[in-house]
């Protein structure tokens, strides 16, 4: 991706003004300052885009099938396993991986750790997009997606945990939009809007903590509705919400590490020096946060087993699987983080973050699908369900990339701000 700087020194766009002093139009900004031909050329040169095209070529017809013929046409239509990959991965997996927004917001704005500032916007964007796409996954899964606003405005069931999730995700989504808006305002050059948001930052951040604590926990609490269905090792009636909340902390931080690593390696042209120079330092800082959250998580996981007197389950096959999950998805990355922090092995930290993030998805799939109905048969998702999940996730990837290409997320806007 070195082409940006070779032929055209004025791009990538970091300023309202071109080299000749005229202003970039929004349209030009959208095309990254490239002509249509140039844009096409760079698009087709990227092998990732070809993979995306292949995924969408099959995925979009499948999505149409789902909306025309119903969920039964693309899933196994199971009454025993009402929730499949769309929620197991899309909601329960995406939401903890998007806890980064409130984590970094709190660190920078609330605790005044300005040294994490270069990554704050990436973390906020990561949070916003994760939530947005979790809702999108929900829209694929809901039987009547057009009734999404019902729990808000039409028929309220306030005593239900899902009611809390719905309201908090909705309000938190608004909070996150507000938090990411300054980057957008800088880019389009509307500074008044940015100043308004700036005044609200502390309030938004605190709202973010409250909403995140509650809905990350609420996603866990949803499973306490099924005390006789989820395997006891994966369900602690008393601690489930803490498990989900605590694991979302390192999940979100790990996701920012992964995302920043990808951007640093494949979008170096878009990063400014502040981002590039500080990234290793920040990554180590994030890793510290991860390792603390992980040891806490590990302890409450064990406390939960002790509390429910479930030691004997550990000796069963499910117990081995449980220990495998804890070992590979928590203990291993935790030690990798620790070693990485001590010896400043940033590469090791990045690898650990990948394991931790995949580990969280694994844990959520275990809770919602694999160890759900543990005394029954195992539901294996329909291939169409898998493909649609990949398709929506690819859309997430493209949106993420689209925004990072353009808005001042990993670079500072040079124009007035």
């Amino acid at each position: 991706m070195k082409f940006f700087s070779k032929e055209r020194p004025e791009i990538p766009i970091v300023n309202h003004l071109k080299a000749d002093g005229t202003e970039w139009t929004i349209k030009e900004k959208l095309w990254l300052g490239l002509s249509l031909g140039e844009y096409k050329k760079q698009f087709l040169r990227n092998p990732v885009n070809w993979l995306m095209i292949a995924i969408f070529a099959v995925g979009i017809p499948l999505l149409l099938q789902r909306y025309i013929y119903g969920l039964g046409a693309v899933t196994h239509a199971s009454n025993d396993y009402p929730w499949g990959l769309f929620l197991g991965f899309g909601l329960f997996g995406m939401v903890p991986l998007s806890a980064s927004g409130f984590m970094l917001g709190t660190t920078v704005e609330l605790f005044g750790r300005k040294d994490f500032h270069p990554i704050e916007r990436l973390a906020l964007l990561n949070g916003l997009l994760g939530y947005f796409f979790a809702v999108l996954f929900l829209e694929v899964d809901l039987g009547m997606p057009w009734r999404l606003p019902y729990p808000m405005f039409v028929s309220l069931g306030p005593a239900a945990v899902l009611f809390l999730v719905a309201w908090h995700v909705a309000t938190y989504l608004s909070v996150q939009i507000a938090e990411v808006l300054p980057a957008f305002f800088e880019w389009i050059g509307w500074l008044k809007g940015k100043r308004v948001i700036r005044k609200m930052v502390l309030g938004l951040t605190i709202a973010g903590i409250i909403l995140s604590t509650l809905h990350q926990g609420a996603l866990g609490a949803l499973f306490t509705y099924a005390p006789s269905k989820v395997h006891p090792l994966w369900l602690s009636v008393n601690f489930q919400w803490i498990h989900f909340f605590c694991s979302s902390i390192f999940a979100g931080l790990s996701m920012v590490i992964i995302s920043s690593t990808l951007i640093r390696n494949f979008m170096a042209w878009r990063c400014d020096d502040e981002f590039k120079d500080n990234l290793d330092y920040i990554t180590i800082g994030l890793a510290k946060g991860c390792s603390y959250a992980m040891i806490t998580y590990l302890i409450i996981k064990i406390v939960a087993i002790a509390h429910d007197q479930e030691w004997s389950y550990l000796l069963t096959g499910w117990g081995s699987y449980y220990m495998l999950e804890l070992g590979v998805a928590v203990v291993l990355p935790m030690f990798m983080f620790a070693i990485g922090i001590r010896h400043r092995y940033v590469g090791l930290i990045r690898f650990a973050a990948l394991i931790a993030a995949l580990g969280i998805i694994w844990n959520r799939l275990n809770t919602s699908m694999i160890c759900y109905n543990w005394q029954m048969y195992q539901e294996i998702p329909h291939w169409k369900e898998v493909w649609i999940t990949i398709t929506v996730y690819s859309l997430y990837f493209l949106t993420y990339r689209f925004i990072v290409y353009r808005l001042p997320i990993v670079y500072g806007w040079k124009g007035e701000k």
Partner: protein, 311 residues
Amino acid sequence: MKKIVSRRNFIKGGLAGTATVAVMKSKETQAAHSFEGYPDGMGVLVDLTRCVGCRSCEAACNKEQGLPTPAKPFDDYSVFQEIKHGEKRRTDETAYTVVNQYDIPELDHPLFRKIQCNHCQEPACLTSCFVNAYTKTPEGAVIYNSKVCVGCRTCMIACPFYIPTFKYSSAFNPRIMKCIFCYDTRLKDGKPPACVEACPQEALTFGKRNDLITMGRQRIRETPGKYVEHIYGEKEVGGTAWMYLSSVPFDQVGFDTHVPQEPILNSVKDFLAIVPMVLTIWPGLFAGFHLLATRKEKIKEQEMEKKEEKA
């Protein structure tokens, strides 16, 4: 009913952020431990020793509820051999009730068990629904309103008996499909559901839930050795309107004997209780953290200003 209302209000209050109300009411929460159900709620006592597996109840239900024509006639008993994923037949979008056969080694004849919605006293589907699509009527039925349902299927997760099913086959008009105790066509006029009326063996006895418990106990007491000394559903998940008597331990006839003995909602309470706390404590706590964390900077700023003034 008062009790449950106050508890739900407590949660509502917490969510709305009216903290003081919430904290005050939380005391009531402790006191209001369980909802005993409507005193005059109706129920059905199913006596497994009487059922002969004729499937009349299935046929009657199918007609009463206008469900689709089945693949096999209702007098075709080969359905008892059907196994899917190692499981016997279950309710689905075409059947609100099914009868399954259980071969018991100690008995010279099989036992049959009818499943349908048990119409819990404090239903998990109802308490888990975020659009209030479910209602427990004073007559004892747990009914469903498809007009507000969003199709999230949490009720299917929450139901400890795997009863609600989803009309997956429909893209534009899907809904939850489940036994409603023939509420609109019969129960609300005091009539028994279609399945009860169809049962030739009176394996299904309709009556006030309280009276049925007395009756069940009488059957157990007066025919020693005939029944296991337990009425399934009297205490399970806080009590159900449909209850069962069996001659063999309930786990041998497909019942989940590990369901909690209290309403499913009780296991969710731990979390619900923290909601008002987080809502009220977090803002102050984190604003305080913010002041503490940024104090040094503020002091530095002030010192800088003073220096500037001096200079």
